[in-house]
């Protein structure tokens, strides 16, 4: 994907530079709010914070954050990042911990130039102060790296997307990761607990993945595509190598989970 968001990131850069000089809490963020209002998607009601992962604190919390969970900005500033974990239903604690770890590990495995401004997108079910369940899309954009080139500050944008997808407790949390620098887009595979980039598969490999997801055997696939069963096996081996999955079952689970097949 050639479209990049380099320029808006420069604007953030300026903002954060200004913020650093003035003490970043002073970005009362009329500017930031204006930018986000226009460029952050238009999916639904959103609010945002700036998170400091070195101290696990919020550096800034938008005043209107109460529209998301029902708690005022002060509660977030007082309790730090941990405060967010209160909103997850108990059933999701493990799954959420896993995807957070995957996003954190993957992000920090990237070279600094790719990590900067990369975005982790989380799809979660949360509970509001009044007890209602709702679906929340969280975008964590890494805007500052620490001395070791790891995640330090993130701009977190929270959007209520209950109208897009029912907030059902049986839905496990999801995660995707976008790297604007290269246009890479990765999706989390719960069975391997790691990120997969499906763009690296060739069209033929995708055909084979699709047919496999329909529970076809190698010889059935071979028949359908008019190739030898051995070629199917070779393709499958390559797919597994590229995606880091141990076996086809892991990969098929992933494809069904993300609706990449039919």
């Amino acid at each position: 994907m050639p479209d990049s968001n380099a320029e808006i990131m420069e604007k953030y850069e300026e903002l954060f530079e200004t913020g650093k000089r003035r003490g970043i809490k002073d970005i009362t963020s009329d500017q930031l709010r204006e930018l986000l209002k226009r460029y952050s998607g238009g999916f639904g009601t959103f609010s945002y914070t700036i998170m400091d992962f070195s101290s696990a604190e919020f550096l800034h919390v938008a005043e209107d954050i109460d529209q998301i969970w029902g708690y005022p900005a002060e509660s977030f500033l007082e309790h730090g990042i941990q405060f967010l974990f209160n909103f997850f239903p108990e059933e999701h604690h493990d799954a959420h911990f896993k995807i957070s770890t995957a996003a954190w590990t993957y992000g920090n495995s990237l070279p600094p130039e790719k990590l900067l401004y990369s975005t982790a997108n989380f799809d979660n079910i949360n509970r509001r102060k009044n007890g209602d369940l709702f679906r929340i899309l969280t975008r964590q954009i890494t805007v500052r790296l620490d001395g070791d080139g790891k995640i330090w500050l993130t701009l977190a944008i929270f959007t209520d997307i209950s109208h897009i997808k029912e907030p059902e407790i049986k839905d496990e949390p999801r995660l995707s990761y976008y790297i604007p620098k290269t246009g890479e887009f990765l999706i989390y595979n719960p069975s391997t607990e790691s990120m997969i980039n499906l763009d690296i598969l060739t069209d033929r490999e995708r055909d084979i993945l699709q047919l496999s997801a329909r529970d076809k055997t190698a010889s059935e696939i071979a028949d359908e595509l008019y190739i030898s069963p051995y070629t199917v096996q070779t393709h499958r081996a390559n797919i597994l190598k590229k995606t880091g999955c141990k076996n086809m079952a892991e990969l098929v689970y992933f494809s069904k989970y993300h609706f990449l097949t039919h």
Binding site: M1, I8, N121, Y178
Partner: protein
């Protein structure tokens, strides 16, 4: 096909902006630049459209990556390709639903307002058989001096990562107001309860030719495959239809 330099000229012209908010004009080039800098959670492409001239002004090149369609084909007046890629099972339902809801907003005058994002969600099928869950946004970016929509943008986001295998298929339409930061309108329509088994791209081609009255022999010739293969395809198609 529109000549590149015509487009360039057009791009640098200034348009009356969303008159309610700003006073100065804004160039299409600037609008495109702004759009490239959006923060979105998925791969996407966008299309700028002149609502008054009914003309496509700009198509971002990621349309090739996402839909497998060359952007110059869209410039050349083949905008309908962006609609025809909608999954065949749900295309009629999506079209009639969108027309209905859009007309409603039109009569209420809401498409003449600034900062409203209209979204419709549906699924598309690429030529390689992949199915994508698309979030299609429409927004008016600039108005004529009489406050009629001038430049509009359509964004097509691939939100497949957010959706799993769905039992029910529901098309959704909603309107977000950037000023109030709220969803102000929501409508949905059930397309089907259980997904019918889907044809492969080859079976689809065969079905298409059958619909046009070709015999198995003729189809074999056209697709450069053996008659036996065509018969197998026909058999599979029939089985899938019976399932549905």
């Amino acid at each position: 096909m529109k000549k590149e330099h015509d487009i360039e000229q057009y791009r640098t012209r200034n348009f009356h902006p969303s008159g309610l908010l700003h006073e100065e004009g804004i160039s299409l080039a600037q609008l495109i630049e702004n759009e490239r800098n959006s923060i979105l959670p998925s791969p996407y492409f966008f299309v700028f459209y002149d609502y008054q001239l009914s003309e496509t002004l700009y198509v971002s090149s990621s349309v090739e990556h996402l839909y497998g369609i060359n952007k110059h084909v869209i410039y050349g007046g083949e905008e309908h390709l962006l609609v025809e890629i909608i999954l065949r099972d749900e295309q009629p339902a999506v079209k009639s639903f969108v027309t209905e809801v859009w007309d409603d907003h039109y009569h209420r005058g809401e498409i003449y307002l600034t900062d409203r994002v209209f979204t419709v969600e549906y699924r598309v099928q690429r030529s390689n058989g992949d199915i994508l869950h698309i979030m299609h946004q429409n927004e008016v970016l600039s108005f004529t001096k009489k406050n009629l929509p001038k430049i509009t943008i359509a964004r097509f986001l691939d939100m497949s990562w957010l959706f799993g295998d769905e039992k029910e298929r529901i098309v959704k339409f909603y309107m977000y107001n950037r000023q109030t930061n709220k969803i102000e309108y929501f409508a949905e329509k059930l397309v089907f309860k259980h997904a019918p088994p889907r044809l492969t791209s080859r079976e689809d081609q065969v079905q298409h030719l059958i619909n046009h009255g070709f015999t198995s022999n003729q189809i074999a010739g056209k697709l450069d495959i053996s008659v036996e293969t065509v018969k197998t395809h026909r058999k599979n198609i029939k089985a899938k239809k019976a399932d549905a």
